[in-house]
Amino acid sequence: MGLGQVAGTGAAGDAAVDMGPRVLVSSMLRYGVLLASVVILAGLVFLLVQVGPRAFISMPRTSISESTDLTSIRAVVGELLPPEPEAVIEAGILLLIVTPVLTVGATAIAFVLERDWLYVAITTFVFAMLLLGFAIVRGSSLAGG
């Protein structure tokens, strides 16, 4: 679609400008969000089946004072077998969190296809900063205990 589009046609009014990246970002966000909400809903249905309706009335009350111990991808995946309702929900939340980050990474590739090197550089830089942020968080949380 946007393949082979000449860079530099950024004048206002050009209907085809950034078609490739736009379609990609829009659909990645849409399907990422859709997938995450389906997983979260599945977790809630699972909870309803396992605990019954009272889970929804007392739900946040029961765990109001406790934070979750599902704090890493490994912990969440570990709890998925055999499945726990809470782990299914947390997996959906994880999907939600990684969606925008992966979208930025994919956008860099979309700009490569458009041969828009300035924006390849800009988007790659943003993606790198996001990853650096994750690395700093991991480093400091390990050091901080």
Binding site: S37, P60, T62, S67, I97, P100, M129, L130, G133
Partner: protein, 275 residues
């Protein structure tokens, strides 16, 4: 309780989608003051809300060409750098002064916004070489006006500086800072209000995702709170995006000003009260 959180989140989703804020400003006070949840879970929930609202709304806005992807990504370089700076200097700066500085900055923005209250579209803006070089221009179909709107940005340097400050703020205090992003684009870069809020919408999700790992690792995002928040905000964002296209730019500004004033006043109050 489950349904109360869900309803609050729907409201936050609608407001966030229209104003480009992500909804954290609504979620945190609602969960702590109305529902008595601990502040750390409220902040964890607001991070989830920001990502859900942003991703949900941005998907629609980008499709409708309201979001300017180039402007969003280029300015995101400044906010991510700011966020890292904020995280690095976190131990050395007192939040007291930050609240004061940002409170005053927002108060100034509110005044600047008042002057532009009647302005539907920015019209011709002064030529900016950097905007031309980065191709900060575009067009979208405005449903409220029934016409295609062409626009281009100006004041890229002041806009970028504001974005960097917004990044520092979110890195230090974990706040999405959608307000500052909208202000930078509306007041400094003089983009149409709808372009500013929808582009900010896309940006806050990316920034929030970067800091989400902190809260997730700390266990501040427990499933019983996160599930109704995520689903509620997504529903609200879907509704909000359908609504926003039909609103006038001036209406969105009018909705924006009270939010701005409340946040500015509470920030300045926080600065004065904290020792």
């Amino acid at each position: 309780m489950f349904f109360a959180i869900f309803l609050v989140s729907v409201a936050a989703g609608i407001g966030g989608a229209i104003l480009g804020l992500g909804g954290g400003i609504i979620i945190v006070p609602a969960l702590t003051l109305l529902l008595n949840l601990p502040i750390r879970f409220a902040i964890g929930a607001s991070i989830v809300a920001v990502i859900a609202g942003s991703s949900g709304a941005a998907a629609a806005y980008i499709r409708d060409r309201m979001t300017n992807l180039r402007i969003g990504l280029a300015l995101e370089t400044m906010t991510t750098m700011g966020a890292l700076t904020g995280a690095l200097v976190a131990g050395y700066v007192s939040p007291h002064w930050l609240y004061l500085i940002f409170g005053l900055l927002l108060a100034y923005s509110a005044v600047a916004l008042f002057g532009r209250l009647k302005l539907e579209l920015p019209g011709e803006v002064p030529y900016d070489r950097l905007a031309e070089r980065l191709r900060f221009s575009g067009d979208y179909y405005d449903q409220a006006l029934g016409q295609r709107v062409h626009y281009s940005a100006t004041g890229v340097i002041p806009g970028a500086v504001m974005m960097y400050l917004a990044g520092i703020f979110s890195g230090l205090l974990g706040i999405g800072s959608g307000l500052f992003k909208v202000m930078a684009m509306d007041v400094a870069m003089r983009l149409p209000m709808k372009v500013s809020t929808s582009t900010s919408n896309f940006m806050v999700g990316v920034t929030a995702a970067a800091s989400a790992s902190v809260y997730f690792t700390r266990g501040d995002i427990p499933a019983p709170i996160a599930a109704p928040v995520a689903l509620g905000v997504l529903g609200g964002a879907w509704f909000g995006t359908n609504l926003m296209g039909h609103l006038r730019n001036t209406t969105i500004r009018k909705l924006f000003i009270p939010v701005l004033i409340v946040v500015a006043v509470s920030m300045i109050a926080k600065a004065i009260r904290s020792p």
